[in-house]
Symmetry: C2
DNA sequence: CGTTTGCTTGAATTCTGTCAAAGCAGGTGG
DNA sequence: CCACCTGCTTTGACAGAATTCAAGCAAACG
């Protein structure tokens, strides 16, 4: 095992600590090492392509990724963005074993930890801290999605952008404007204009 | 205990069956009876008002409800709709114990089962079927929200409406058009026009 | 009945998207 | 060091989409 891979697991152990007070046992750590498969992606490489089944859910140890669909006209619609400490994957495809309609690729070079559906269920059964993490993540995710939805449905372009900046400062510097625009359901030109009017205030 | 309330719990026991094969024990049923508090709401009565903390998550045994925010201009934005067999509540406020920004009210007379955060954690610990239900619900919810988000961000009015009809036929007849419109992030006039062009095809 | 509630429609307005052009970095190779 | 990419942002002119406002109509309700 390469040094870099040990580091990747350590990053995940640190991450798990945030969810559960009691430290992981050595057995638990070993099981996690056994279950998560490390991988690397270079910028622009695919983690998932539409039509394929999403076999892994992926913890981003380092780097930045995006998940998007492509419509009839060939236009990309960003569904989710992620950086270090975030998860990436098409949960529908992953849990229902159906082909995905999304693409996922690396926006920066990435270090990743991958887990299959079966692996996740196994850890869920055998490691309380993992179970707790999943619970809390679902909770947060639900809340974040709800906010994003509220903003997308109820607000005009300008407020959508300011909401985004408040809720996702960690994404702001990592992706170019046209990606953020797509994430917000705007086009790049509109977002550029929104930013100008904001800067004039 | 009134007959009607027994019926309400039975409806919930039936609901739980869909998530877990093994039947509930009598102890488990008793615990559920003890933990969920039944209530009724008449049309237009509030379950939750913005500014209050959402103390209960609510299982809708019968009826129809809506959750919405009210913006600066006094306009309501429908965030969620629910009918029999659905859950209603502001999960953010309920789990983080913060004041809610949403209103929830009954659109029809409702029979409800209410559970506090503490109650939910208790059942989660002590009843496997409840735990399993929660897992599956989070999964489904995540997927449904993702779809709604994809539609809201990437699609124009007409497609948003057709997507809605596909994914939520059970809501379609239960709420008037202007409510559906708000749920989709459109205004009633626009939805009316969308429907006309659709009917001309 | 009269009132309320919801749906439709037209005209004017505002907002957002499209398209094309230009400018501005940073990176690469000559 | 310069010329040339490439990717990103900004901008203007225009087209298209969605909202607003007002009016009218129908069905439901008390």
């Amino acid at each position: 095992m390469k040094t870099s891979e040990i580091d990747m697991y350590d990053a995940f152990f640190d991450y798990l600590k945030k969810f559960s007070p009691d430290p992981l046992s050595d057995d638990e750590k070993a099981l996690i090492r056994q279950t998560f498969v490390p991988s690397r992606l270079r910028k622009r490489q695919y983690l998932l392509q539409a039509g394929d089944q999403c076999k892994n859910f992926t913890f981003i140890v380092k780097g930045a990724m995006r998940m998007y669909s492509v419509d009839d006209k060939g236009i990309e619609h960003i569904v989710r963005l992620g950086v270090e400490g975030w998860w990436m994957g098409d949960r529908e495809s992953w849990s229902m074993l159906t082909p995905s309609i999304y693409h996922i690729d690396a926006w920066e070079n990435c270090d990743l930890l991958n887990i299959t559906r079966a692996g996740s269920m196994e850890l869920h059964r055998r490691i309380p801290a993992f179970c707790e993490m999943k619970l809390q993540l679902d909770e947060r995710n639900h809340i974040a999605n709800n906010r994003r939805l509220t903003s997308a449905i109820g607000a005009a372009a300008e407020k959508r952008y300011t909401d985004f900046m408040e809720c996702n400062p960690e994404l702001l510097g990592r992706f170019p404007q046209h990606i953020i625009a797509s994430y917000l359901g705007l086009n790049k030109d509109t977002l550029s204009r929104v930013r100008r009017t904001l800067s004039q205030k």
